[in-house]
């Protein structure tokens, strides 16, 4: 088992090296003469007004929250699906109940208007 994860460990470092190569190559081959105007923020030729890193629309955050609930709940369902042969019928319905609670959460978010883009 350790061997299998060793593969992933090596893979991460090698996979990072491959895209790094053309960037390093470009550093030697590409011209490099920056100036103030070139390094300005691109905004279709207009000068940018005000800071960019401002508070963003709250709606994005709410979607992220709803996602978080679903994501965590589905991860709990994976072991249930793998052990499907070993579990008795009542455990299958237990899982279904778990999904239905999830549906309840979705309906709640829906009724509360969390899924409306306003």
């Amino acid at each position: 088992m350790i061997d299998r994860w060793l593969f992933i460990g090596i893979f991460v470092s090698i996979a990072a090296v491959f895209p790094l190569l053309p960037i390093v190559l470009a550093r030697f081959l590409a011209p490099h003469n920056p100036n103030t105007i070139k390094l300005e923020t691109y905004e279709c030729g207009m000068e940018t007004v005000g800071p960019t890193w401002v508070q963003f629309k709250i709606q994005y955050y709410i979607y992220a929250l709803v996602f978080l609930i679903f994501d965590i709940e589905t991860v709990f369902l994976f072991p249930w699906a793998v052990a499907f042969d070993a579990i008795p019928l009542f455990a299958v319905f237990e899982g279904v109940l778990f999904i239905l609670i999830l549906v309840g959460g979705l309906l709640y978010a829906w009724r509360k208007g969390a899924l409306e883009w306003s």
């Binding site: 060793l6 893979f11 490099h32 923020t41 691109y42 905004e43 979607y63 996602f67 369902l77 979705l106």
Partner: protein, 395 residues
């Protein structure tokens, strides 16, 4: 071991024998072999991109009744190399106000995120990077790196268009991850395993037959996950210039580009593995190269659908896109999961498995169609009305 039955295994054994004859310790041999297999898998993915970019341009051109690249090399095959040379020799400018560290890491991370998926792809019965017993979970986890890279790119550019693109990416990619994860559960449930190779071995009947709806939902949410038309709001060029990679130039832009193309094909590969039986086909168990051929042929089906959809449909609005996900795909995928679980427990071991599951899928399709029809009748469409204006009439 016959060379033609398993060329890579043959060469690997030869290298291991050579090292053993040089009295190198078994741990070192193991490490070197692992390293070599990593390089083979990773470079296969990256070499594939070069071909895929050409293929996609050709196919997209055909859809638009053009010829596509045909100047550089035979059939324009060398076009991508020409593009690569151009991108490498372009100036790499980093905006002054950008967050330098994450600005530079983001394009690399986007490629790494896609390449990592290939670590668990079984190309053939014996050719798999590493057969993790939590393969599907690993794919879901690694897939999230891609979202992170887009968010990093958009945020660190310190550009309003880029930031808007990143926000949209958060809303879109995160949302579509939900139905994708739930539909991933269906093949896991049918195969009783999360290992990718176990899953392929279990598909004596392809899972697309047992769970057609899950396959379709998986494909749709995957298209959204790649950020392709009709879900390309994160880089909508008519609204926010180029989205999260507005400020990127040269090879760093090229890396985002390459990652997107590879991701599109990876979706095809995953679709083939989970629903179309992966490397399964006549003779694949014996001749490994045949297995690779079958997998690639099946992956092209999904890839072609992605390209087809891309050149057919226009971009949809952000509220429609989110509504499609949360109000249709997510409930539908939950329903199909419940139906599959119950039917699989009831008929899983009997011969009625296939018809029972098919009828279950059909029932979900029917119910959702009825619900959609009822919903569309309830909501009245707003019609744009104009004031009556005097019109010139013939005398």
């Amino acid at each position: 071991m016959n060379f033609w039955e398993n060329p890579i295994g043959f060469i690997g054994e030869a290298i291991a024998d050579l090292m053993r004859s040089l009295h190198i310790g078994p741990e070192v041999i193991n490490f070197v072999i692992t390293l070599l297999s990593v390089v083979v898998v990773a470079s296969f993915g990256l070499l594939l991109v070069i071909f895929l970019i050409w293929l996609e341009r050709k196919v997209a051109a055909r859809f638009q009744d053009r010829i596509g690249p045909n100047r550089a090399g035979p059939y324009g095959l060398l076009q991508t190399f020409a593009d690569m040379v151009k991108l490498i020799t372009k100036e790499d400018s980093i905006p002054e106000k950008a967050d330098k560290l994450s600005f530079n890491i983001a394009p690399i991370l986007s490629v790494v995120a896609v390449l990592l998926i290939w670590a668990v792809v079984p190309f053939a019965p014996a050719w798999i990077g590493t057969d993790l017993n939590v393969g599907v979970l690993y794919i879901a986890a690694v897939g999230s790196f891609g979202i992170l890279s887009i968010l990093m790119a958009g945020w660190s550019s310190n550009n309003k268009y880029a930031l808007l693109g990143a926000f949209r990416a958060v809303a879109q990619l995160i949302s579509y991850e939900v139905p994708m994860l739930i539909t991933l559960l269906v093949p896991v449930l049918l195969a009783r395993s999360m290992g990718m190779n176990d899953m392929v071995r279990d598909q004596s009947t392809w899972f697309i037959v047992l769970a057609p709806l899950a396959g379709i939902i998986f494909l749709v949410s995957s298209i959204a996950e790649i950020g392709r038309t009709p879900f390309d709001l994160i880089e909508a060029e008519s609204e926010i210039v180029a989205g999260y990679h507005t400020e990127y130039t040269g090879m760093k832009f090229g890396l985002f580009f390459a990652a997107e193309f590879l991701h599109a094909f990876t979706v095809g590969v995953l679709f083939a593995l989970l629903f179309l039986g992966g490397w399964r086909g006549p003779g694949a168990e014996q001749y490994q190269l045949l297995g690779v051929f079958y997998l690639m042929a099946k992956a092209s089906i999904g890839y072609f659908i992605v390209m087809w959809v891309r050149s057919t449909l226009p971009r949809i609005r952000i509220d429609h896109m989110l509504a499609l996900n949360w109000k249709f795909l997510t409930p539908a995928s939950l329903a199909i999961l419940i139906i599959t679980a119950i039917l699989e427990k009831a008929y899983g071991e009997t011969s009625a498995r296939i018809p029972a599951l098919l009828i279950g899928n059909l029932a979900v399709v029917l119910v959702s169609w009825l619900v959609l029809r009822a919903a569309s009748r309830k909501t009245k469409r707003e019609r744009v009305t104009f004031k009556k204006r005097p019109v010139a009439k013939p005398a």
